[in-house]
């Protein structure tokens, strides 16, 4: 039997195509935790993307109803585990607002020092994994080397590397140990030139630039409508940083710049975070030099019973505005504890950012938003 001759190409019947549904995750290296992304693909192009999360939902808002206020501090470490101090900070701030407690000045400085070191180490983890998402392994080995030095500092301070449980209602749990300030200064001197080194291995890399520039452009109006905060918002040109615009704690006493970039793409968000590392190091250096003498813990009743009322306190965390809304009924346990997390709102913009992009850009956009899953799931 002779095969029938092929019809000329311009007369070939059109190929029937359909969209493909692809589950990205829940176990996927670039989702940085257990999160599933339901992608609908038309060839190489994303038609729609729907995040699905809740895999590490622990019911932390419900758990608060069964725990006393001081018992809850250690749980806040488990929200954004890369910036634990900043979660503890907003919780303690809410408790202090409820009960009207004044924190001693030395404790405020210690909170700033540890909080900024936390932000620094969180940005370091992000930078390493961002590079790795795009196929560059070297930055990870650099940034984790530096992060280890920060974790050593925390180990010296409170005996923990990640979940510190360092802050207390009305202060901090202990003063700086001997040698901490020297070791921290040594680290800052060593770290001084490093953001530029990272820049050399990533920002001067043509492949990295091509994969980041013009990718995932976040319009400032959409960002505000979706309550996006933090470096992701500042990468879209809006200078919203609570440390400057609603200064809490000792922040009015320090010199630092609020970093913004106007482009709104993945590269802009990358640049904001790299620049913020320098600013955090600047703040820690100033706080170490100006550390006042005095108590590190205010007088707080042994049984902490705030009066009936409500408080909403928030801080600028590594990923945006992190806040606690506490309602007290006058007993030792909160009747309602609401956690406002930056990653939840920041991620809600993802379906809009991903519609229409190429599959290869999905990972770059995910990485540049820098969300953290345990914080979203709570």
């Amino acid at each position: 039997m002779n095969p029938s001759p092929m019809p000329p190409l311009d007369q070939a019947p059109a190929l029937a195509t359909e969209t493909l549904t692809l589950n990205m995750g829940p176990q996927h290296p670039s989702t940085h935790g257990a999160m599933r992304l339901i992608l609908k693909l038309d060839g190489e192009r994303v038609v729609s993307a729907q995040p699905d999360f809740g895999y590490v939902h622990r019911g932390m808002e419900k758990m608060a109803e069964a725990l006393t206020y001081p018992q809850y501090i250690y749980l806040t470490d488990r929200l954004d585990y890369l910036s634990s101090i900043l979660n503890e900070w907003s919780f303690c701030l809410a408790c202090e607002t409820l009960a009207g407690i004044q924190v001693p000045r030395r404790a405020e400085y210690l909170r700033v020092i540890t909080g900024e070191l936390c932000r620094l180490s969180s940005h370091l983890v992000w930078l390493g994994s961002m590079g790795m998402d795009l196929g560059a392994f070297t930055p990870l080995t650099y940034t984790f080397r530096e992060r280890e030095m920060i974790l050593d500092l925390f180990d010296l301070l409170c005996g923990q590397r990640m979940t510190f449980n360092y802050l207390r209602i009305g202060g901090v749990s202990r003063d700086l140990p001997a040698g901490f300030a020297d070791q921290a200064r040594k680290f800052l001197r060593y770290f001084e030139r490093l953001p530029d080194v990272y820049d050399q291995i990533l920002s001067d890399n043509a492949i990295f630039l091509q994969r980041m520039r013009g990718v995932g452009v976040l319009d400032p109006a959409i960002a505000r409508s979706h309550a996006v905060t933090g470096p992701s918002l500042r990468g879209s040109g809006m200078a919203l940083d609570l440390r400057r615009s609603e200064p809490y704690s000792a922040y009015p006493e320090f010199q630092f710049d609020v970093v913004t970039r106007a482009d709104g793409d993945a590269l802009a968000r990358y640049q904001v975070r790299v620049e913020e590392m320098k600013q955090s190091a600047r703040i820690v250096a100033q706080a170490l030099d100006g550390l006042p003498e005095g108590e590190v813990q205010a007088k707080v009743p042994r049984v902490f019973k705030p009066p009936v009322g409500e408080a909403y306190a928030r801080v600028e965390s590594s990923r945006g505005i992190q806040g606690f809304y506490l309602a007290s009924d006058g007993t030792v346990k909160p009747t309602r504890c609401r956690i406002r997390v930056p990653s939840f709102a920041n991620l809600s913009v993802l379906p809009k950012l991903l519609a229409g992009v190429k599959v290869a850009d999905v990972v770059a956009i995910l990485g540049s938003l820098d969300f953290i899953v345990p914080e979203i799931d709570r």
Binding site: E61, K62, A66, R224, A227, S245, F344, A345
Partner: protein
């Protein structure tokens, strides 16, 4: 904050309870949740400027629910305002704010998931944190789960 701001708010919301909550900006307690969307529109006007959501959640007050909406001004983030609206326990229904705020879609799904409050006009109201087949809404005070550890006296 200008001195007459509370009076301005009170005249814009005649039926609402307007007060100052030390340090957090004004609190507008609406009489009913039906007025929520219109209130957000009024508050976003240039003379007020609270045009952005920071957080949206609910409380279980026992006999009723209460929606708690934290608004900020995108021009000046220091300007905060809290809007509260009561929800009857039997109906547990509220109007959706999705057409006004992009983030409301997920926040309302979360409130539905954990409190069981239904939002009219929400395009895709389903659970967001808990599994689809979960029964009950855990942040309600009368939520019972036999797997929860009961401490003596609790």
């Amino acid at each position: 904050m200008p001195d007459n701001l509370l009076e301005q708010l009170q005249s814009a919301f005649p039926g609402a309870q307007v007060s100052e909550q030390g340090g957090f900006g004004p609190l507008v307690g609406l009489a009913a949740a039906d007025a929520l969307a219109a209130a957000c529109e009024t508050l976003a006007r240039p003379e007020f400027g609270w045009d952005t959501v920071e957080d949206y959640t609910a409380r279980d007050l026992g006999t009723s629910f209460e929606l708690v909406l934290h608004l900020v001004s995108s021009a000046d983030v220091r300007r905060r305002l809290t809007v509260k609206a009561p929800i009857a326990r039997e109906t547990a229904q509220a109007p959706s704010l999705v057409s006004r705020f992009g983030c409301a879609e997920w926040y309302e799904r979360e409130i539905f998931d954990l409190f069981g409050i239904r939002f009219d006009g929400h395009p895709d109201l389903r659970r967001i944190l808990l599994p689809e087949d979960w029964s009950g809404h855990p942040l309600r005070k009368d939520y019972q789960d036999e797997r929860l550890l009961r401490r003596p006296g609790n």
